[in-house]
């Protein structure tokens, strides 16, 4: 099973590296923005956007994960797959995240967290961030 995962990760790695190199050839310097090497969440994108409020993200993420019905790491990974699939830089992540949050509110995809109504994407992101870096 572990080998299978590693194999998938390796395959993803090469696909993304390939795509990124392609993009960097076409579009410039995205290549150097790629950090090592959580292929799914591209942690530097998160850090660029949220590094200054890391403490807040941790707290929200930790609170979310303690809640009944919180998604586990695998499910969170699936939920946040859009980050891997669509994004190349911090700005894109940021705009895409805003769109997801708006769409969650539009569709009533809420998560209650200490009585606050959060877009599901926000709760998932914070939960994942805490799991990875908290």
């Amino acid at each position: 099973m572990e080998n299978e995962k590693q194999s998938i990760s390796r395959r993803k790695f090469f696909i993304i590296i390939g795509a990124t190199l392609g993009a960097s050839v076409i579009g410039g310097s995205y290549y150097q923005n790629w950090g090592p090497w959580d292929l799914l969440t591209k942690p530097h994108l998160l850090e660029n956007n949220f590094g200054s409020i890391e403490k807040n993200l941790f707290l929200i993420g930790k609170t979310y994960l303690k809640q009944e019905g919180a998604l586990d790491e695998n499910s969170l990974t699936q939920k946040l797959k859009w980050i891997e699939n669509e994004l190349n830089n911090s700005k894109e992540l940021y705009e895409s995240l805003k769109g997801k949050v708006q769409s969650d509110f539009e569709n009533g995809a809420f998560v209650y967290l200490d009585k606050w109504i959060l877009a599901a994407t926000e709760a998932h992101l914070c939960g994942y961030y805490y799991l990875k870096f908290g």
Binding site: N49, F50, S52, I53, K55, N56, L57, L59, I60, T63, Y94, L97, K98, V101, Q102, S103, D104, F105, E106, G108, F110, Y112, L113, D114, K115, W116, I117, L118, A119, E122, C126
Partner: protein
């Protein structure tokens, strides 16, 4: 003329074309509309012109819920007044008509709706507005709310308007009543019995009694009971000489379907940006009373009728109050502040951070439920009438419904990244009532579903009418007085037609 049943020599029997029992806004309004006409009217008031402790004692009874106890074990007394002017001696003055949806049958909500549409009542709302010196709600509500840069056009949010009137009916109309040659007012007169004719289809005689034992009988052609949402059913249930279950209670409905307007002062916190200019803050113009015309208006936050219908939501309004800075949300280690900072970041609120919190004060419509009811207990008052037991509870179903309404507000602000909501409403939340007693002699044209028909006439009793909010089959969230008055104007037209027809 004024009679005082306690002290004056009053004839033992009196005949009137119309006898109105209850000197509150509805009763006074109906009486004054007959001033100067040929109709002989008697207006019956159980108290005097000031509150007295012995009258207050008559209001005592038993309440069975936390909510009722929450009034210091005195909800039945504190929410009512038993002297001339009735509830207008202490009302808050908030005025608003019911919404169109309040009159409609709604899918998924049982027992809700009136036997006629709002348009039937519109001309009478105009009269009620004039009486209370209010502007036209129709006109005011046509003025669109300026949401600033907040894009509300595709949201289900609305901003219903309230107006204010402090009219004290006892003080303002006493002279009109007393000076009208065709109207007699009798004070200290408590209705203790309603006698029917042998076929039980006509009120023949009313027995009025003072606390000192003086007693008279009144024979009215038409009789209007206007003693409020708790006393109306209490009197009808107590008057069981002719019918064991009480008068008008053939189908065991009298006293049932009691409704209040549950008030949750802390239902939710809305965190949002205080924009520059301030006028661009979406709810800025909702917060305060505004004197932007000759009338003072106050807007609430509510949901549009389309979403109420589609989602099966109760019609609920939210006052926006209690502005606080965000840092009052909690300390630096609280999730409250974490969410604020996170939202600022994700939603890019560098220019206008989410620094403002407002409390949403919820006023809810209730589900009409027969389990919420006024019933009699064996303990009697000084007049020999059984006292009431108010059995009342807000259900979990209603709380869940209010929560869903709040989620729609969260949606409206969230999808524009303009604000987010902390929902503090739960079944254990502190709740008070509006002292609005509704539904206990509900209106329905089917006698198996209502105590009165659409003309406020008690089913099966030709000359017996009921005025006041006890006839409301559903309540919306608007304070009831304006609708009580509109209904009483409508009843006046009907009574006049009946009296003319009789002659």
């Amino acid at each position: 003329m004024i009679y005082n049943l306690k002290t004056n020599d009053v004839p033992e029997e009196l005949d009137y074309h119309l006898c109105i029992v209850g000197g509150g806004p509805a009763g006074i309004n109906i009486a004054k509309e007959f001033a100067g006409l040929k109709t002989k009217v008697l207006l019956v008031e159980s108290g005097e012109f000031e509150n007295t402790s012995e009258q207050e004692n008559l209001l005592d009874g038993k309440g069975s819920t936390d909510f009722v106890e929450g009034y210091g074990n005195g909800y039945l007394q504190h929410s009512r007044l038993r002297f001339f002017g009735g509830a207008s001696n202490h009302w808050g003055g908030m005025c608003r008509p019911l919404d169109e949806i309040d009159f409609e049958n709604r899918d998924g909500i049982k027992n809700i709706g009136w036997p006629f549409s709002k348009s039937m009542l519109e001309p009478y709302y105009r009269k009620a507005e004039a009486l209370l010196k209010l502007g036209s709600f129709k006109e005011l509500e046509n003025r669109e709310y300026d949401w600033g840069s907040f894009e509300a056009s595709n949201l289900p949010l609305k901003t219903p308007i309230f107006q204010f009137s402090a009219l004290n009916f006892g003080e303002v109309f006493k002279e009109d009543i007393v000076n009208a040659e065709n109207i007699d007012l009798i004070i200290n007169a408590n209705l203790t019995n309603i006698k029917l004719t042998s076929y039980n289809n006509h009120v023949e005689e009313l027995v009025l009694k003072a606390l000192n034992g003086n007693q008279i009988k009144v024979k009215p052609d038409l009789f209007v009971l206007a003693c409020g949402g708790i006393e109306n059913p209490r009197i009808m249930l107590n008057c069981n000489d002719d019918i064991e279950n009480g008068i008008g209670n053939d189908h065991d409905l009298v006293g049932k379907y009691f409704m209040e307007h549950p008030h949750y002062p802390q239902s939710a916190q809305l965190l949002y940006a205080e924009n520059e200019p301030l006028d661009d803050t979406p709810l800025y113009k909702i917060i305060d009373w505004i004197q932007d015309t000759e009338y003072a208006t106050k807007r609430y936050l509510g949901l549009g009728e389309e979403v109420l219908k589609k989602e099966g939501l109760l019609n609920t309004g939210f006052d926006v109050i209690d502005t606080k800075d965000y840092d009052e949300l909690g300390d630096e280690n609280s999730t409250d502040l974490a969410i604020k900072h996170f939202s600022d970041k994700v939603w890019n609120k560098k220019e206008a951070p989410l620094n403002l919190t407002q409390t949403l004060f919820l006023r809810g419509e209730q589900l009409p439920k027969e389990t919420n009811r006024v019933e009699l207990i064996d303990r009697k008052d000084q007049l020999g009438l059984k006292r009431v037991h108010l059995v009342y509870k807000v259900s979990e179903e209603e709380i869940a419904n209010y929560q869903r309404s709040l989620e729609w507000i969260a949606k409206g602000f969230g999808k524009q990244l303009r604000g987010r909501l902390r929902l503090d409403l739960s079944f254990d939340s502190d709740m008070v009532g509006g002292a609005h007693h509704m539904g206990t002699t509900r209106m329905h044209n089917n006698p198996r579903k209502g105590v009165v028909n659409e003309h406020c006439q008690v089913h099966g009793i030709k000359n017996f009418y009921i005025a006041g909010s006890s006839v409301f089959p559903s309540s919306g969230f608007a304070n009831p007085t304006l609708t009580i008055l509109a209904l009483s104007f409508r009843l006046v037209d009907h009574l006049k037609a009946q009296l003319n027809h009789g002659k």
